[in-house]
Symmetry: C2
Subunit: 148 residues, 2 copies
């Protein structure tokens, strides 16, 4: 994104995050990582050209969202796998927010293909706005302001 140095964008965390994550494929690669993909061949199934995939994974490693680890299955050569870092895991609300909008506003056929649930209770989870005391705040009540 080119316009990051303009006053309206310079310190905007939305614009900054889009610089890191807004590139084509990055969010779909993170989706696959959350679904359990760790290997090059697993990430390929999102339909990214093989020639592009290495560069996108490198960029996510450089941005600190994935880390590379060596692994060796018995009797095989050493390979690399890609694991979410804490910064990568912190992108989960971005994926959930995109999914929630799509489930509400797109015609996805009978079903959605990504679900978010508590691992400990198994119950479905979604995003809500919450204030500093943990009280839910209706989205319609949220005001956005340029902080000074």
């Amino acid at each position: 994104m080119d316009a990051m140095l303009l006053p309206a964008n310079r310190a905007c965390p939305i614009a900054g995050t889009l610089t890191v994550l807004g590139q084509k494929w990055n969010l779909l690669l993170l989706r696959e990582a959350f679904l359990g993909s760790t290997r090059f061949a697993e990430f390929q199934r999102i339909g990214i050209p093989t020639a592009t995939l290495g560069g996108r994974l490198d960029a996510l490693v450089a941005a600190g969202l994935l880390e590379r680890q060596a692994y060796q299955a018995e009797g095989e050569r050493t390979r690399e796998e890609y694991r979410l870092t804490q910064a990568g895991r912190d992108a989960l609300p971005i994926l959930a927010a995109l999914a929630q909008w799509g489930e509400t506003h797109l015609d996805l056929g009978d079903r959605s293909k990504v679900g978010f649930a508590s691992g400990s209770t198994g119950r479905r989870a979604h995003l809500e706005f919450v204030d500093e005391d943990g009280n839910l705040v209706e989205a319609a009540d949220i005001r956005v302001a340029r902080a000074s």
Copy 2:
């Protein structure tokens, strides 16, 4: 995005939403709309080329996120302004999730430039995962699954 018809993406609400919103500028234009911009000249301050802005606004109208309304200031000619629709307002968690990640993981200098707060209480608000009964769920406990 080209790969939308692959099995991994076809009914994925994340991929679908990126098709609508992932284009350069769209999320920054929505940010400006939430900050109160309604007029062409106000949207220009994000640094989008003037030749591009009309087309991006048209696309957001076509996608149902903004609607065009005529307005007339006293003594001036009729102009058009752009207002968020319900679908546009429903994109607020996407912006908040991008902002939260940026505030945590990017060096934005002294401050962030976008704040989210309850309009009725004035208290800052952020996104949390919540289950169907309204109980907060730690992000680390969230599991992502391809729904069948």
